[in-house]
């Protein structure tokens, strides 16, 4: 057991060491490469700087020597050389005449610049050719120095005399003038070499520091990375994935091959489990889908039942409301009928009481008439009184007939007689109200079968409505007619008419356009009920501002018919023409 643990330890250490060595070598290679590149480029830059410096110095000298060479003044030439000789990098400066004869030579020495004629290397023909060209600067690089050469030029005469007058810029054209001489400058490469050495030292030092830091970081990283590896190997060994000691063919190949195989087996197992799990999930999903569908159907059915219940409840409420309204209407009709019944009884008793004295009065008058001894004028008066008594008698008889409780006994009725009796009742009242009554009854009017007092009530209601529609007077026209198996009663007034919005409500119980206390709103409703029970119809045509025309249509009676009117077979139409 200890041997196996030691084996794992050695194996992980071996792997870490090898990895560390690889990375350290890579860092070393990169450091050397970068340092070498850096040194190379810095050396080139230093060399370019030195060349630029030499070019600048020799150009400066060529300009400052121009006046001294022009005047061939040795003192001027010497003073022009001094600034350049103070430069540490300048070894010597030499001035030549146009034939390359040495005029001045100055050497830079520690302390003060030395003067005199030293050993100046003769410029090559190539150098001479270059500096002879306008603006040409030649340089020659030796082992320890670089020598720069340049010509000193001057304009010795103006192109034209007039040109002297119109001078407006810098004097002359020094780059293309006459050659006054040449100047040579030797710049030492000591500074270049010193700079190069400094660069090498700095680069090597920087590279060494970078290398050490890189190695340290690499060591730490590898050590940190090997810990989980060791734990992995231990875990593999503990789980029995890998138990063999390392063999020579690979550092970590065997344990990792074992690990891969174990992972393959694990993945196979996972796949198997995954497949079974998918089957179970699929079955369970199907079950859940089915249950969900059932729940949806159940919810849908419940919703439908609820809707139906709600609809039934609403219909029931509507029916209850309508029935309640009908009951209220019936109750009110019943109460009104009771009142009318009581009024009829009272009227009958009053008529009966009036009829007795009237009979006596008529008897007296007839006696007076039969005596024959009266003057003619009085005889006429007596006859007139007898006629009035007859009229009173008919009136009382009509009242008694009208207010007599309905017998519901049907009979063949003469509509003209029926209508005339009602008009007779109302004539006096209508005349008092300024209403002119016009009647027109059709001849040979067929009889209708019905209850007489009920139809009288219908006609009376229509006349009463016409009367109320003409408060300022007017014309009431009552006519009868027949055609097509129907007998029609027309009640027409010249009142204000019925508004269109009210026309559709006039047959509704308790609907009234009259002021409170003047009407019950039941007249037309009751009349419609009566006519419907007789199998007839009521039609109302009205024009606002012109009047209203009500037409009651009753079927002509059949010879053998002796039954109660059945309203279920009749229809009632309420139409209006407001236009």
């Amino acid at each position: 057991m200890d041997a196996k643990r030691r084996c794992v330890f050695l194996l992980s250490r071996h792997f870490a060491l090898q990895t560390y060595l690889y990375l350290a070598a890579t860092i070393l290679f990169a450091t050397v490469l970068l340092s070498g590149t850096l040194i190379h480029f810095q050396q080139r830059m230093l060399r370019r700087q030195m060349q630029d410096k030499g070019t600048t110095v020799v150009s400066f000298l060529a300009e400052s020597l121009r006046l001294g060479l022009f005047s061939e003044n040795a003192k001027e030439i010497r003073s022009a050389l001094l600034p350049a000789l103070k430069d540490d990098d300048v070894e010597w400066v030499a001035v030549f005449d146009p034939s390359w004869r040495l005029l001045q030579y100055g050497r830079s020495l520690p302390g003060s610049p030395a003067e005199g004629k030293g050993q100046v290397p003769a410029p090559s023909p190539e150098v001479r050719a270059i500096v002879t060209q306008p603006g040409g600067i030649a340089h020659h690089e030796g082992a320890e120095n670089i020598i720069f050469w340049k010509a000193v030029r001057a304009e010795l005469s103006a192109p034209t005399v007039e040109g002297l007058y119109f001078f407006a810029g810098p004097l002359g054209r020094p780059a293309s003038g006459t050659v006054l001489g040449y100047v040579g400058v030797e710049v030492s490469k000591r500074a270049l070499e010193a700079g190069f050495r400094a660069i090498v030292v700095r680069s090597v030092g920087t590279g060494a520091v970078f290398l050490v830091l890189g190695w340290c970081v690499t060591f730490l990283v590898v050590r940190g990375a090997s810990r989980p590896l060791r734990r992995l190997l231990n875990e593999m060994r503990r789980r029995g994935i890998w138990t063999e000691p390392p063999v020579s063919r690979g550092l970590l190949a065997d344990p990792f091959y074992e690990l891969v195989r174990a992972l393959d087996r694990a993945f196979v197992t996972i796949d198997e489990l995954r497949v079974g799990l998918e089957e179970r999930i699929r079955a369970r999903t199907a079950e859940l889908t089915e249950a969900n569908q059932r729940l949806r159907d159940e919810v849908r059915e419940r919703t439908r039942v609820q809707d139906e219940l709600k609809q039934a409840r609403d219909e029931l409420e509507e029916r209850v409301k309508a029935r309640t309204q009908e009951l209220e209407t019936a109750y009110k009709q019943l109460a009104h009928s009771e009142k009318l019944n009581a009024l009829g009884t009272l009227t009958a008793s009053v008529a009966h009481e009036l009829n007795n004295p009237l009979t006596g009065i008529r008897g007296v008058l007839e006696s007076l008439e039969y005596r024959g001894d009266l003057p003619p004028r009085e005889t006429r008066l007596v006859k007139l009184a007898i006629q009035e008594c007859d009229r009173i008698d008919r009136l009382i008889q009509n009242l008694r007939d009208f207010y007599r409780p309905t017998t519901d006994r049907t009979e063949d009725l003469d509509v003209n007689e029926l209508v005339e009796s009602v008009v007779l009742l109302c004539t006096k009242d209508l005349i008092v109200r300024g209403i002119e009554v016009k009647t027109s009854f059709a001849e040979d009017l067929p009889k209708v079968r019905g209850v007489g007092d009920q139809l009288k009530q219908v006609v009376l209601n229509l006349i009463a409505n016409a009367r109320d529609a003409m408060p300022s007077g007017g014309t009431l026209r009552v006519t009868t007619g027949a055609g097509g198996g129907w007998v029609r009663i027309h009640v027409e007034d010249t009142g204000g008419g019925i508004a269109e919005k009210d026309l559709e409500h006039i047959f509704r119980p308790f609907f009234s356009t009259k002021t409170a206390g003047e009407g019950t709103g039941l007249g037309l409703s009751i009349s419609r009920g009566i006519v419907k029970r007789h199998g007839g119809d009521i039609e109302v045509v009205s024009r606002v501002g012109e009047g209203t025309r009500c037409t009651v249509s009753l079927p002509v009676s059949a010879p053998a018919q002796d039954a109660k009117p059945d309203g279920a077979s009749g229809t009632v139409r309420g139409t209006a023409d407001s236009g």
Partner: protein, 351 residues
């Protein structure tokens, strides 16, 4: 009474610090005609006669005097000179009266291109006068075939010694007379008692001789040093006597080179003496006083000479002339640094 007709005027220069004085700027206009006086009264027959003469003149002489202008475009003031010449000549012809309906016309050619030679030969045909601006222009018209056409030149330092048949060859030179030089130097530098001047006898020997005489007449000492090469100038500066209060740079091509100018200006700076020069350009380099040419005035002066030729003056009467329009310009900043008192105020007010 030589100064009659000269006047002093001043103007502020471009940099605002320099002052200028113009002398005799319009002296050349004395020769140009003015308008005819109008007669207030005249008989009817006189008016008819005048109208007849006019009509006859229109019919007989309707052609213009034609001037061919050949100029060197490399000379900066050539345009000023040409414009002034044309304006002055047109003005003169407009005052000439009804003899010419079209008084004068001009044709211009440049002499800087070889191709213009042919144009020049073709253009000179039929012209009445050639106006050459610059030495190169004058050399270009020298070989023209028609030798009878008179030539008026300007901006020519040395008037030509050649002649062309019986025609006029005359013009305005560039050398200011020594008398005027000395006079203007004394005005500008009243404290200077002696001037040093370098000259090449082959170029400006006669001028310096005249200058010596003029200086002697006006009480100014003049130390003239002969040189044969520009290289002598720096060395011979040391030969100047100590009482020299100023250096006079004359337009001598041997004396004025880039290096000699530097030497003179360095000497001026080291010895605190002003440099008197002949061009405004040297003022910016360190010269103190410049006696420069008034180029429009030179153009008008040449127009006056052309007018005289057109009027038929004989050749011997229209001789070459020195420039009459001269400007005096100073650099007050340099004068202040050198400790030199200027005789003209930098504001331009003449003394």
């Amino acid at each position: 009474m030589e100064d009659r007709g000269f006047h002093l005027s001043a103007s502020i220069c471009r940099n605002g610090a320099e002052a200028s004085v113009s002398e005799g700027a319009r002296a050349e206009n004395r020769d140009l005609p003015g308008p005819y006086p109008m007669r207030k009264k005249g008989g009817l027959w006189m008016r008819g006669l005048l109208i007849g003469v006019l009509l006859i003149g229109m019919v007989v002489s309707a052609a213009a005097e034609e001037v061919l202008i050949v100029h060197d475009p490399t000379l900066p003031p050539a345009r000023q000179v040409v414009d002034a010449f044309k304006e002055a000549l047109e003005t003169a012809f407009s005052h000439r009266g009804p003899r010419r309906l079209v008084p004068v016309s001009f044709r211009e050619l440049e002499c800087d291109e070889a191709g213009r030679r042919a144009d020049l030969r073709a253009g000179v045909l039929g012209v009445d006068l050639v106006f050459a601006v610059g030495t190169r222009a004058l050399e270009a018209v020298r070989s023209l075939p028609d030798s009878e056409v008179p030539i008026v030149y300007v901006l020519v330092h040395r008037p030509p010694a050649w002649r062309r048949g019986r025609a006029h060859v005359t013009g305005v030179g560039m050398q200011v007379p020594p008398e005027k030089w000395i006079k203007m130097i004394r005005e500008a530098l009243p404290d200077v008692r002696r001037l040093g001047v370098f000259f090449d006898p082959s170029n400006t020997g006669r001028f310096v001789e005249g200058a010596k005489e003029a200086a002697a007449r006006q009480g100014l000492g003049l130390t003239a040093l002969e040189i044969r090469s520009p290289r002598e100038v720096p060395a011979r500066l040391a030969e100047l006597p100590p009482d020299v209060g100023g250096l006079w740079m004359i337009p001598d091509p041997t004396v004025v080179t880039r290096e000699t100018v530097e030497s003179l200006l360095l000497y001026s700076l080291r010895h605190q003496v002003p440099v008197v020069t002949f061009s405004e350009g040297y003022l910016a380099l360190g010269a103190t006083v410049a006696v420069t040419l008034d180029f429009p005035s030179i153009g008008r002066q040449a127009a006056s000479m052309a007018w005289r030729i057109f009027n038929g003056e004989p050749r011997g009467n229209v001789l070459p002339e020195p420039p009459k329009g001269v400007l005096l310009r100073v650099n007050p900043r340099v004068a202040r640094k050198l400790g030199v008192r200027l005789g003209v105020a930098p504001s331009g007010v003449g003394r």
